[in-house]
């Protein structure tokens, strides 16, 4: 069985020549929950875009055994759902129902299946009963949940998220954490929030300046104070208490 994500010697330069990703090698198996950690500008978001076949670099990226190329983009995006950092970019339809149904409709599913998936996804994120609301009338936390629902309704094998906890209050963040823990899909979460990553993921990949610096158990990497400080990060509170 092919791994969820396989990346071999992948590099990508921005149009102005800046090296965004340098010689990335990575293997993620199905069902893993992986935190992609690193300071701002480390290349985390760029790597997520490359996995979704939005960027053409050198090297190879495979999603569930299929090459992440422009030719396979549609197939790749039905296997791997990307939740963007700003939910306002992800929610563009006039009603919440239309937004969550957008992906399944584009997948060519029949009407009954689209309705069933949309209802299930909204229920999973706790937004049932809000189907007819316009997305711009949702609160920040609800928008985040709605953005996740738009991907859940497509039932991808892999879900990537770009800073899903950003701008959320602790209560909403904990709710999101519980929701993400309950998902059976492979999760790849790019974040600068070590507490959030530590509470959710068993594996961490540390990136800086477009390179993978460390890859291993979340507790091992995120409790290494020297490593974290060198790359502009901090030890997660849960590991900080253990260290002291």
């Amino acid at each position: 069985m092919a791994g969820a994500v396989e990346i071999e010697n992948f590099s990508y330069d921005y149009p102005d020549g800046t090296k965004a990703l340098v010689d990335i090698n990575l293997s993620i198996t199905h069902g893993e929950k992986v935190a992609l950690i690193g300071p701002n500008g480390a290349g985390k978001s760029t790597l997520l875009l490359a996995m979704s076949a939005f960027l053409k670099g050198t090297g190879k990226i495979s999603i569930d055994g299929i090459g992440a190329t422009a030719k396979n983009a549609k197939k790749i995006r039905s296997l791997l759902g990307l939740v963007m950092q700003n939910p306002d970019e992800q929610l563009f339809m006039p009603t919440l129902f239309d937004d969550v149904a957008f992906g399944p409709m584009n997948m060519g599913l029949d009407e009954g299946e689209v309705r069933s998936r949309t209802t299930d996804a909204l229920k999973t994120v706790g937004l049932e009963g809000m189907e007819r609301k316009p997305p711009h009338h949702l609160s920040g936390g609800q928008k985040r949940s709605a953005a996740i629902a738009t991907i859940l309704s497509m039932e991808p094998k892999i879900i990537t998220m770009d800073e899903p906890e950003a701008s959320l209050d602790p209560k909403t963040r904990n709710k999101l954490n519980r929701l993400l823990k309950s998902l059976s899909q492979t999760l790849i979460i790019a974040t600068c929030n070590m507490d959030f990553a530590a509470g959710l993921c068993e594996r961490a990949i540390l990136m800086d300046e477009g390179r993978i610096i460390a890859d291993g158990g979340a507790s091992k990497i995120m409790s290494d104070a020297k490593l974290m400080q060198t790359h502009g990060l901090e030890v997660a509170a849960v590991f900080s208490r253990i260290t002291h």
Partner: protein
């Protein structure tokens, strides 16, 4: 959420709000055609046409002040046209309103007709928007055969106008927080241009990212939507009442 009042009234509940969007849209279009095609001299009949949209607003519980405010916003464009007709057409005519008759100029009559038709059709249009959720209105437009591209564009405009309002509001607040004196006309203009530029560039970036989010969910240039719309007895009754009303006014117009 300082822009929530834009949608507030269309989310109320009333017999008019519950009507099918297609019926309301078609009725407003037909009603507007009848009003616009009325001769400028039919002052009495024009006044009778005003009853329908105002009755709809009363039944729907839409505040008249809300409608008038929106009419006022777009009125300058029509005011120029109406006032100019006063100057260009000074031929004497006899105007009648019920039992009253008086002599005036064709320009005055035309000005009155333009203003009257504008207020009546705008009231009907604002009434439609105030009693129909925008998503239902878009679905109704699509079902009635409005070009797909136009419906999609309107959908995006509706969705992102709120973000632009928010962005503009935040930028203006940031400026107010750092502006301690009047900068003078030239510098104010420069600042305003910079703000407009930053919002414009931001909106282009946003459009790029939204496009990416759409492609990420399999968008291939064609919009597919699931919309449940049902025409019920109340919809037929509403359409039949309007038809009778228009026929009656046509009859009155010929008799008087």
């Amino acid at each position: 959420m300082h822009h929530a009042q834009i949608d507030r009234i269309s989310y109320q509940d009333s017999p008019i709000h519950r009507l099918d969007g297609r019926i309301k849209l078609a009725c407003v279009l037909i009603f507007s055609v009848f009003v616009i095609s009325l001769p400028a001299t039919s002052v009495s009949i024009l006044a009778c046409y005003a009853i329908w949209p105002f009755a709809v607003l009363v039944v729907a519980g839409v505040p008249i002040s809300f409608v008038l405010k929106h009419i006022l916003i777009v009125s300058p464009f029509i005011a120029v046209l109406a006032l100019s007709s006063l100057l260009y057409d000074k031929a004497p005519v006899i105007a009648t309103f019920g039992p009253w008759r008086w002599e005036t100029t064709a320009g005055v009559l035309r000005c009155f007709s333009i203003c009257g038709k504008f207020i009546i059709t705008m009231t009907a249009l604002v009434g439609l928007v105030a009693t129909t959720r925008f998503s239902d209105l878009l679905a109704a437009m699509a079902k009635l055969g409005v070009p797909h591209l136009l419906v999609v564009q309107l959908g995006f405009l509706y969705r992102y106008i709120f973000m632009l309002i928010d962005r503009g509001y935040h930028v203006l607040r940031a400026r107010a927080g750092r502006k301690f004196r009047n900068l003078g006309f030239a510098d104010e203009l420069k600042t305003t241009a910079a703000i407009a530029g930053s919002i414009f560039i931001g909106s282009i970036d946003l459009a790029g990212r939204v496009n990416m989010a759409m492609q990420g969910r399999g968008f291939d240039g064609r919009f597919h939507r699931l919309t449940e719309m049902r025409i019920a007895g109340a919809d037929y009754l509403f359409a039949a009442t309007l038809t009778l009303y228009l026929v009656a006014l046509q009859f009155l117009g010929r008799v008087f």
